[in-house]
């Protein structure tokens, strides 16, 4: 199963990004193979429509869950219809390695 995590940087020490649409990087983590892929977010500085464009990026990777600090209202109904689970984690100090460890428990 693939999980998308919003990240502030492109390594495992970076923190969880608290925004979904305008986060800096996406980490696509595969819980079965432990494979990781960092994707830079082209919508980082977008004026509007960042959320739906970001959903397209992660949905094309067939993720089933997204972990982020916040989801916009446009994204919610979109992800609902795509059957992607949203996980809201309000802990900006958590880094990616800790989150991956939680997933692997």
């Amino acid at each position: 199963m693939k999980v998308a995590i919003t990240s502030t940087g492109n390594n495992l020490e970076s923190k969880l990004d608290q925004r979904f649409g305008r986060c800096s990087w996406f980490l696509i983590y595969d819980t079965a193979t432990k494979g990781m892929e960092f994707i830079p977010n082209p919508n980082k500085d977008a004026q509007n429509g960042a959320g739906p464009a970001s959903v397209q990026i992660v949905a094309s990777r067939n993720v089933e869950k997204i972990i982020s600090g916040e989801f916009g209202i446009k994204i919610k109904s979109l992800l609902d219809s795509l059957k992607i689970q949203m996980i809201v984690l309000k802990e900006p100090e958590k880094n990616l390695e800790e989150i991956i460890n939680m997933l692997n428990q």
Binding site: F71, I73, Q85, I87, I99
Partner: protein, 164 residues
């Protein structure tokens, strides 16, 4: 006295289409007229006639009272009948609504998560696999605003706690 404000109706998913257009109209006098079917009426019709629920079950899902659900449902049928009889086109839009799937909050890692697949019950926290979590129903989605679930916001577990 001002009237009581309308309670927001909860909608599971937006409709896949935005309307219906009649074809083969016998008396063609230009563009067909419109019937505006509200999204809440679409949802009531979906729950009652497609999911085959009774009005009480549907009213719980839409978060309104049973008499209100019946009124919404009656309005939906009236509008659709009007469109059928007079050959009007149906446009699905508007209504006092918010979109929702069920949200849960985990007691161990403090995260919030939703359940996109409504057919399957949630058994564990998707993040830390903890089985101690509760329904989080206080989240109200104001239209045109982003969701903020602040940590300092008090959330109390309701009577129906999910424990295994």
């Amino acid at each position: 006295m001002s009237p009581r404000p309308i309670r927001l109706r909860r909608i599971c998913n937006p409709p896949v289409i935005s309307g219906f257009r009649p074809y083969g109209t016998r008396s063609s006098n230009g563009k067909p007229q419109d019937v505006f079917l509200h999204i809440e009426e679409y949802e009531a019709l979906r729950l009652c006639d497609y999911e085959l629920m009774n009005h009480h079950q549907a009213s719980v899902i839409m978060n309104v009272s049973r008499p209100t659900l019946t009124r919404i449902y009656a309005r939906a049928r009236m509008k659709i009948a009007e469109a059928f009889v007079l050959g009007k086109q149906i446009i699905i839009e508007g209504g006092k609504i918010y979109f929702d799937s069920e949200w849960f909050s985990c007691k161990r890692c403090g995260c919030f998560f939703n359940n996109p697949d409504k057919q399957v019950a949630v058994k564990e926290c998707p993040l830390c696999r903890s089985i101690v979590f509760s329904n989080y129903e206080e989240v109200i989605y104001e239209p045109e605003e982003s969701i903020t679930l602040t940590k300092n916001r008090k959330y109390e577990s309701r009577n129906h706690q999910h424990r295994k």
